[in-house]
């Protein structure tokens, strides 16, 4: 039985990507949402790699590895820890 491994890899990567992007939207903790966004972007990069465009893959990693920490910082500094959380609770960052 011949398995089309490229198709399998594409399906696995795209499933991960869809799951990751759903988790970005529904996650209550903003920092975790940013982390899932990083996973989504890396899987998109891996799909670029599957299309034999290594340069775009590496640039994707380099650019978004810089962009996601900035998003993290904004997530930490400009919002509460949980979205739609009670505002003033002592002892939690």
């Amino acid at each position: 039985m011949a398995v089309d491994w490229q198709l399998v890899a594409f399906l696995v990567l795209s499933a991960l990507e869809v799951i990751g992007s759903i988790l970005v939207v529904i996650n209550k903790r903003l920092v975790r949402a940013a982390f899932w966004l990083a996973m989504t972007l890396v899987t998109i990069g891996a799909i670029y790699l599957l299309f034999l465009s290594e340069f775009v893959f590496l640039i994707q990693i380099i650019v978004y590895a810089g962009a996601v920490p900035v998003l993290f910082v904004f997530g930490i500094m400009l919002t509460r820890r949980k979205i739609m959380d009670e505002p003033a609770r002592e002892g939690t960052p």
Binding site: E54, G66, F72, P93
Partner: protein
Amino acid sequence: MSAPLIPNLFEVCKVLTVAIVWIVQQIIYAFAILIPPLTGLGDWLGSDLVVTLLTWLIAVTVVVIWATLVNLLTMMWVERKLYSRLQDRYGIMISIWSLPFWPFNRVKRPTHRGTGYLQNVADGVKLLQKENITPRNADSAMFHISPVLIASSTLMIFAALPWSSGFYVANLPLGILFIFAAFSLAPLGILIAGWSANNKYTLVGGLRAAAMLMAYEIPMILAVIALVFFTGSLDPIEIVRQQDRVLFALGPIGIPAWYAFSPQFLGFLIFSVAMMAEMERIPFDIPEAEAELVEGWTTEYSGMRFGLVFGFKWLRMIAGAALIAILYLGGWSGPVFATLDVGGIPVPILPEEVWFLLKIYLISAVFVWISWSVPRVRIDQILNIGWKRLIPYSLLAILIAAGFRVIG
């Protein structure tokens, strides 16, 4: 021109794999006399696909062991001895005779007058015995994932980093870019570690790492862009091959055509400074400024998890020094003074690996020297250095490189 000690790592590992597979096959065939279906297993082990897969595994293992068990330990030892000498003391001196069990614990052996090379191993064993503590209010999943992210991305550098023209795992045409991609993943792990530990010191350390990330990574990439004007390639082996010639002869000494001696000198300085910030060496180690923040973003880690995030800094230092050597200082190219004739093949007495290691350790020694001689800069000062000095100078380096490229 000198030749590598290992002409092709994959072929060398293939010989090893074939030998191991042959031995295992003979054992399986011996058992197959009793249990006949095992013959198929033996045949499957000898098939081409399995041997190739095992060879890749062995090649990766060889490079990882070479990088961590040999070079990481040596680099830590060199740093500890060297900064002790700079502070006018001896440094680590525990010798192997201080081990408390039989072949070592003989009397009349000086226990504290050795070179101290195995002290780092002892520290690692001590860290392995310690308890892994997770803070109560920490984000446990992210707290545990960030050492994995840092360690794996650091090891990923060595998949593309060649140690000589034959000693590498994979020769990628975009190797330099791959190394930068692997380098740039670790600050994400630092930020996650800093945020998830639920401690004000780790959070400040992580946010400092994120703040200085842009300030040094942009000039680093821009300096490499300036270099690519000259090389026209991102393949590390090709870049080193271009530098393996004599620029001009100064009497009997030939000055090599390293890119540090070309109009790329400005880019070399920028790249070295940015690489020091990337490696978190002391003038730029504000994410873990132990005088201000307890231990920076590593405060809450304990046990071997701390060992990983702390010790892999030296692995990144090796990778950074190797990158500087490859890009600007001629990599593994070096003169050959004498060759040894082994069966008609001239084997250089100083092969490429020796030159490369010599350059790596010299660059690292300079970094250690600098970092234990100067005080730490403040967070606003490094942002000023990055954004107001390094980025304009790296743009100037690009301009110079483009100008020289136009002239010829």
